[in-house]
């Protein structure tokens, strides 16, 4: 009887606690990915603008950590840096608008969309940003 009571009491504490923490962590992980991605996107766009306005030939290398949920990264119309992500909430796009023209390797471009393969999967990345006459050029360092 004592044994059963102890087991019941333990389960009574563990089960609801696990449920609460699981649900809470689901929401928190989404906020965490969002925060990481905002930092990543803002760093790239802000650095691109700084490098471009510093003048042609200026360049820098960024060391960035791409979060797990990123499945694709691309530049649209030279002004939108778009990250496609998959979360518990579904597929969505996180967009960063640049005030300078963003370009990358022409081989990755189809019409107005240029893919950034190095930023399309998770992990530690080195990205070079270089100022050209008319744009900030983004590619792998």
């Amino acid at each position: 009887m004592e044994y059963l009571l102890i087991i019941a009491l333990t389960l009574g504490i563990i089960v609801p606690t696990t449920y609460l923490f699981y649900n809470y962590s689901k929401a928190s992980s989404q906020e965490l990915v969002d925060a990481q991605l905002v930092k990543l996107g803002r760093t790239i766009v802000d650095t691109s603008e700084t490098i471009f306005y510093t003048g042609e030939g200026s360049k820098t290398v960024l060391e960035l950590n791409v979060p797990d949920n990123v499945v694709n990264a691309q530049i649209v119309d030279g002004r939108e840096l778009v990250f496609n992500i998959t979360t518990n909430f579904g597929d969505e796009e996180i967009v960063f608008i640049s005030n300078v023209n963003l370009t990358t390797n022409g081989a990755n471009c189809i019409a107005n969309v240029c893919k950034l393969p190095d930023l399309s999967n998770s992990g530690f990345k080195k990205i070079r940003i270089q100022a050209t006459k008319s744009s900030a050029f983004i590619d792998t360092a």
Binding site: Y24, A27, V76, D77, G90
Partner: protein, 162 residues
């Protein structure tokens, strides 16, 4: 003393305890004590670009206050609410002023806060006094981007309907 007699004595001694515990558990379940979801914090989570400032869930109505942090004026093409129910919740979407956007779309300026009201919410277990987990989907495009590519964001609201 036989084994069966010992078992019978054990049962007669502790039967009242089993019955009392069963009744107590039944009562706790009936009064919703085991509905652990109610202990979760009420939350409204949107991506940073369209941060959720406040929200309320009322019977037949969902109110959300969002701010445009994109750094750009946008046109909202559609906005909808759903949930995981077999017959999902259905609401009438909010409509803003058209501005520079096409018909059936509405303009949302940079840094502007919007109070959005989804009205006539029904189905999907959307009932007063219950807890709801809703998914909000918004499709928009940036006005100044030449090809106006559509982008989708998802937000989630978890709260009690009052």
């Amino acid at each position: 003393m036989g084994k069966s007699q010992a078992s019978l004595e054990y049962l007669t001694t502790y039967a009242w305890a089993f019955i009392a515990i069963s009744i107590t558990l039944g009562a706790l379940y009936y009064f919703g004590f085991f509905d652990f979801a109610k202990f979760l914090p009420q939350k409204c989570i949107f991506p940073e670009q369209f941060k959720c400032l406040d929200f309320s869930l009322r019977s037949n109505q969902v109110n959300i206050k969002l701010v445009n942090n994109l750094g750009e004026n946008v046109c909202v093409k559609s906005m909808s609410i759903t949930n995981d129910a077999v017959t999902p919740v259905s609401c009438t979407s909010p409509i803003g002023s058209q501005g520079a956007c096409a018909a059936s779309e509405w303009q949302w300026d940079y840094a502007a806060e919007k109070d959005l009201s989804f009205t006539s919410c029904s189905s999907g277990g959307y009932l007063s006094g219950t807890r709801a987990e809703l998914k909000v989907t918004m499709v928009y495009y940036a006005i100044n981007t030449p090809t106006k590519p559509l982008h989708t964001i998802n937000g989630r609201i978890n709260g009690k309907i009052i």
